[in-house]
Amino acid sequence: MLEQIPAAELRYVGKRTPRIDAKEKLTGQATYVSDMVLSGMLYARVKTSPHARARIVSINTEKARKLPGVRAVVIGEELDYRVGLYVVDKAILARNEVRHYGEAVAAVAADSIEIAQKAVDLIDVEYEVLKPVLHPLDALKDDAPLVHPNLGEYDYMEAAFTPKPGTNIANHTKLRKGDVEKAFEEAEWTIEREYTNPSVQHVPMETHVAIVKWGYDDEVTIWSSAQSPFTLRNLFCTAFRLPHRNVRVIVPHVGGGFGGKAGIGIEPLVAVLSKKAGGAPVKLTATREQEFSLLPCRSQLTYRIKTGVSKDGKILGQKMTMYWDSGAYADYAVNVTRASGYSAGGPYEIPNAQVDAYTIYTNKPFGTAYRGFGHVEFHWGLERHMDLIARAIGMDPLEFRKRNALREGSTSLTGEKIRANTGSILKCLEAAESAVGYGTLTEAEKARQEKTGMKIGKAVVGLHKAPAMPPFTATAVILRMNEDSTVTATLSLTDYGQGTYTSIAQMIAERLGFPIQKVKIAFESDTDHDPYDWQTVASKGLLLSGNAAILAAEDLLKNAYEIAAQALRCQVVDLDHDAEKIFIRHHPESSVTFRQLAIGYCYPNGNSIGGPLIGVGRYIAQGLTHLDKDTGQGLPALDWTYGAHGMIVEVDEHTGEYNVLKVASVFDVGKVINPDAVRGQAIGGMLQGLGTATCEGYIYDQEGHLLNPSFTDNKIPTAKDLPLEVESISVETPQIDGPYGARGVGEHSMIAVAAALGNALQNATGAQITHMPLRFEDVWRAIQRREPVDNWITKSPYGSCRSAPEVQRHQQQEC
């Protein structure tokens, strides 16, 4: 829905606009669920498993129940419900068996949080500890214990996923394009290698929190720090077999999500406590430690890539095998697997491709959506691999990327034709190249090396991502005119920090021709009051809800024009409007104000027409298809946002310490709606990417205990970790069906940052690192020994990767 308005005439779109929610947050007045107290509210605490895998022999809750002030105690035995997003595999509280460290086994609601905690401490659980399966490659072995022996009995979304009962495979995504074996035969070079990364935590500053009131007649109200009120309601109703009309989900301000709050979390548990406590509202706030282990994380990935390359540096074929560690439950990990599977080649043309992506159950906290939805993880391997191929065949890594970049006329892995308007990865790469002065060192940089004794390295990486969503993903916006002609928009896409609401306000103001001060976006989402939206995920909000907002504005104007035409006794085509009134184009003095129309037009004698002005905009993704389960062919992508990062680092070769001197992040966003918001997403995501690149990651012992569920042991970036210089650059190739040409960029900034770091470090020192994060000691070891280092699962037989490069040059082509 590209609006054909010359940029010079746009009043709000593309212009600096403050966030509509900033003042409320700056004054401390914005309400988050964690701030809420309801009358009669009880507080909940959870008893969690200290074991990764164990049989629950008995749970004794007697002492807890007797504690004064305790109003409800629940254990898994009494809860015959299963919850699941794509594979319905999770009980509300563990029954018979615990499947990961930190899993909930019992819960208490009490008059105060202190009493609830005391009661939890009084619950005795007897376990028979079993040997856990921790590494996804171990879980694939024939004799591996099954995390879900009943996998074959679970419901799952058949159109998209393929669980393998009798194994630990929750899903196998397959993609076949061309003939990859033949391509390898024809290739001058084949290069094969494996790349890994550990699980990480999203770390929203507000932990998961929910208040649930299970009222009389099964009328349930849920206040939650959730990203997707309608999906939460849908999954909740499915689990409890309740009609959708019975359940109301309200989402006020949310203190960050990053995918971790996309689906359903603690709400069912809080709901059963409320039910058991006779309908009193119950509040559960996850502790920071629970955020790491009771709630989901980002999956670990082992990514093996084999690439055949021609003499002139063109990729002929690529075989990609992904082992996604789902942890104990499938949640979003199966869809991460699917979405990564069809994007696995990155923004490059691969004429012959084979992808096998597995989601594998293990006895660890489970994986879910996390900003980038798999793309941060696999671009780590892919973009390191691109550099390693280029080095192996003696070509400059950026030149190798450019030569293979997707462009007009290319076909994606799933058979989609890339068009000029899809966007330009080449422009992104070139902008990053010049922003960091790729390939050379400036005089100042040489002088800096001289002075510090550190080596400077540079790298440019590319990336792409499309929204991972069903082909029928839909949303709606309702726009109501208030009595004074200001307008209020309601929608259930949530804004938990991304700033989408401000961009949508700009677009509504633009389309209505109203000053933006007249436009309000209602912040609290409420499934009883707002129209449907699938989920707030996938960087699809701006495009889908933006389109719906424009349509709502147009619908409102259409309705206003119809009443105005009657009031002014003219035809609709003769009308035009400004911010205050609708007027006859050729007799502008003949007009009626929006204020006169807002709730119905009243003639001087009192007769009235119209009624309250409302505009409705509905938008559904257009032309997408399911993917063929055997070949992965089809059209899954609403839009592709291409991007690139250029990075400059300096490394001390003796210690492995490094500083990131500059990161330039470039995205083809189609059209910048709000420059500061794009920049905020670009820099915020880049630093989050640098966090997973430099220091974040789950560490387990051999029994599967999570050793670092705190900020002391699992660092996240502080202001000190910000690169010396950050730059945000936008390329604008308009998206034909995007609002004002825009496409999403919320996740992309985080993708491939780690690979840029790995490549720049290698450029500086020759160190070949194939697992992340890249801690100083890892870099030092890689410089010293040039071999990979492992300590993510202590003493794992696999190490973090089996990483000797396998490079072959075919003799017969040596002519």
């Binding site: 600096r16 403050p18 966030r19 929610d21 900033a22 003042k23 409320e24 947050k25 700056l26 004054t27 401390g28 007045q29 988050y32 701030d35 202190e114 770390v203 929203p204 500053m205 507000e206 932990t207 949310v254 203190g255 960050g256 990053f258 502790t287 920071r288 422009k427 992104c428 070139e430 938990y496 920090g497 991304q498 700033g499 470039v666 910048v672 420059p675 500061d676 794009v678 920049r679 905020g680 820099i683 915020g684 995501g685 630093l687 989050q688 705190s710 900020f711 002391t712 996240i716 502080t718 202001a719 000190k720 910000l722 950050v726 730059e727 945000s728 650059i729 936008s730 390329v731 604008e732």
Partner: protein
């Protein structure tokens, strides 16, 4: 239970409280000033930063009884006049707020910083806010907002087009 008294943003409060309750919980749950946030409850994230007797502290690490008789400043005091403070205004201009959960603590840390260094350098700002986690913004726009609020930012961070 113990009776305590303190002044918060200029107003006197008196409460009967449990000795084991932290100042953060008393502020949020018993006094109802929920602007100050809890991000970890363990002194690690800075979300609960307030100013007590002129010194920035993590309210999650202080027992409320220890605050008896003190002067406390929280985010709610910053716009008590009905207008945003210069730093709040600069945060608004620079999109230094995303989800907003770190913002109250960040503002109090910066308030203290500016009392010590009225015109802090970029390095001093970084040093100053190092103990306040922000998972959303990547800190850059926060740093720019502080530079702007103290009259030190010539060029605002316009987005570049390739």
């Amino acid at each position: 239970m113990k009776r305590v008294q303190f002044t918060i943003n200029g107003d006197l409060y008196e409460r009967e409280i449990h000795e084991h309750r932290t100042l953060l919980h008393v502020l949020r749950e018993e006094i109802g000033l929920t602007g100050t946030k809890e991000g970890c409850g363990a002194g690690e994230c800075g979300a609960c930063t307030i100013i007590m007797n002129g010194v920035p502290i993590n309210a999650c690490l202080v027992l409320a009884v220890e605050a008896d008789g003190t002067e406390i400043e929280t985010v709610e005091g910053e716009s008590k006049s009905g207008r945003l403070s210069p730093v709040q205004e600069a945060f608004d201009r620079h999109h230094a707020v995303q989800c907003g959960f770190c913002t109250p603590g960040m503002l109090m840390t910066i308030k203290d910083l500016l009392q010590r260094y009225p015109k802090p350098s970029r390095e001093q700002i970084i040093e100053g806010i190092e103990g306040n986690f922000c998972r959303c913004t990547g800190y850059e726009q926060i740093i720019e907002a502080v530079l702007d609020a103290t009259g030190q930012l010539e060029e605002k961070g316009e987005i570049k087009h390739a």
